[in-house]
Symmetry: C2
Subunit: 323 residues, 2 copies
């Protein structure tokens, strides 16, 4: 089963969420509206809303309730991307100009603030304080993750634990709570909420590791931006960390690039080759697989259902994805 | 009665809020913790928490409930200051180095995000969706206000309506909802909530107009930063707007300063003199007084009480304050 087929099964509800997203960012202010709409149109797989819907299938599924948590989760993701692009000084995202490049850093900062605020406003629909607690705690953790990423930039002395903690906060947590909050909003059994959180967390970890691998082995066309971007921004990810710890030649090459705070363009080919030869890509693939297996474990504790099957298919897609 | 005497009456509860504020920003991350604590220590009058406490006196006063809304409101104020300083490129705030100057713009952006997130997390205590709706809607409006401020910068063609709408979003709204949410959290009568909102809104408008007047007539020692800072940053406030519309000489001088996007240092004395001669200061004082009178009107609709008396004293202080 292809990912597109799963989306087809939920097409009418995804359309509702898409319309809600658009309506939500229709600010009375032109720059905010244009910047937010620009972001929305840039697309994305809307994986967080889809996870909300699938998770809710384990409880009482009502799209008119669920949209009030699916929309905020996607907005939080979008807002974090806008602020991320300010930090990374990124010109392109998914092949499109970023808000900070189309407008400027100040507009990007406030567009992010605005989208965050709209996310919180939309979730105000719920009267269950746990939903607010989980969502706001996620925002807090994501901010800590962002600052950790700044601290760890250009730091080739960091250990694997730093890396895993950082990608948990950066990516896995929001996917985990998408599953958890989908189930919670649908009033599914607390045990089911827990297993769905575990599934989301492990899938999220695998997803980010795959992303970090692709940054080394993908083509510019696949990535929508040049390969080697992480190292260029001083972000030391799993393949590079492994390579530096296990291969002297790779370590020398990577340290050379990280020495300079703004290396600009540099020849990424020798580094990719060195990372590959060190076993860094292979190790990262194995780690991704390990997280995926834990994700499958979590699913095996959930009742058999269409949603369970779709979750499994999505996990498999993440294990195989090339871009 | 002096403002300090009112604070004395609430000293133990203000201390509780102060401790909660400190505990709330104790991030596990050093930069976030240091930057947030730096902000807290820079002080401020904690006017929003005090308004929460006073407003709650019209309902069932319980500090252990109230602190969960007083703390978020002060945090939202702090977060907006941090992001504001990024926009204004401000080096000093209340005579202290700003986060963006002590660290950098990126740290300031995420410190603001973090404090916003902590604000939302703290308010998650409440299960009344109206509290979440009012607070999050305020966040949205404040963001729109910030972007409006960027748009209106260096724009001497704007009208008074722009100015009043902007300072509502920038200042008055958060003070209004501090009163409203204090009353709501204390389950005061909805009519009382409404009058308290009106009081806070009008006091907030008067407060900001006074601030904008002081930027022209205050000394560096009083302001904690050089006078004329607003114009230097391209922010056209009420005294300048009035002067430009009523005095050709003042208009020429101000336009000259606004022509250059980054005028740096310029001689502010002739402008202050021209604004004064145009009647811009006098007009602004009258407008401030008009809002203050509306604030008194709102109080007159509330039951007579100590809190009512204290609110009146605070409004009087705002009418007279010199820094």
């Amino acid at each position: 089963m292809k990912l597109a087929d799963i989306y087809l099964k939920f097409q009418s509800d995804i359309t509702i969420i898409e319309q809600e997203l658009e309506a939500t960012v229709q600010a009375r202010h032109d720059v905010l509206r244009d910047a937010s709409t620009h972001l929305l149109k840039a697309g994305g797989k809307r994986i967080r809303p889809v996870f909300v819907l699938l998770a809710a299938k384990f409880g009482h599924y009502d799209i008119n309730v669920l949209k009030n948590i699916a929309v905020p989760l996607e907005l939080v993701h979008m807002a974090s991307l806008v602020h991320d692009d300010v930090i990374d000084d990124a010109e392109l995202r998914r092949g499109q100009k970023t808000v900070k490049s189309q407008w400027d850093n100040k507009v990007a900062m406030y567009t992010g603030d605005y989208i965050f605020a709209k996310a919180v406003e939309t979730s105000a629909y719920f009267d269950d304080p746990r939903i607010h607690q989980i969502l706001s705690n996620t925002l807090v953790e994501m901010c800590i993750g962002e600052v950790e990423q700044i601290r760890d930039q250009y730091n080739w002395g960091q250990n694997l634990r730093n890396y895993f903690r950082r990608i948990k906060r950066k990516t896995a947590l929001l996917i985990a709570v998408s599953c958890e909050l989908g189930a919670l909003a649908a009033k599914a059994d607390p045990k089911i909420q827990k297993h769905l959180y575990d599934f989301g967390y492990n899938v999220g970890m695998a997803f980010q590791i795959t992303d970090d691998i692709l940054d080394f082995v993908g083509t510019e066309k696949q990535l929508g931006k040049p390969a080697g971007g992480d190292l260029r921004q001083g972000n030391v990810t799993l393949p590079a960390l492994y390579a530096m710890q296990h291969d002297r030649e790779a370590a020398t090459l990577i340290k050379e690039v990280l020495k300079d705070e703004y290396p600009g363009t540099f020849d990424v080919e020798p580094i990719i080759k060195a990372v590959n030869q060190s076993g860094g890509i292979e190790f990262s693939l194995k780690m991704s697989e390990r997280f995926l297996n834990r994700a499958y474990d979590a699913l095996s504790k959930l009742p058999d259902s269409d949603a369970n099957f779709y979750f499994r298919e999505i996990a498999a897609y993440i294990g195989e994805r090339k871009f």
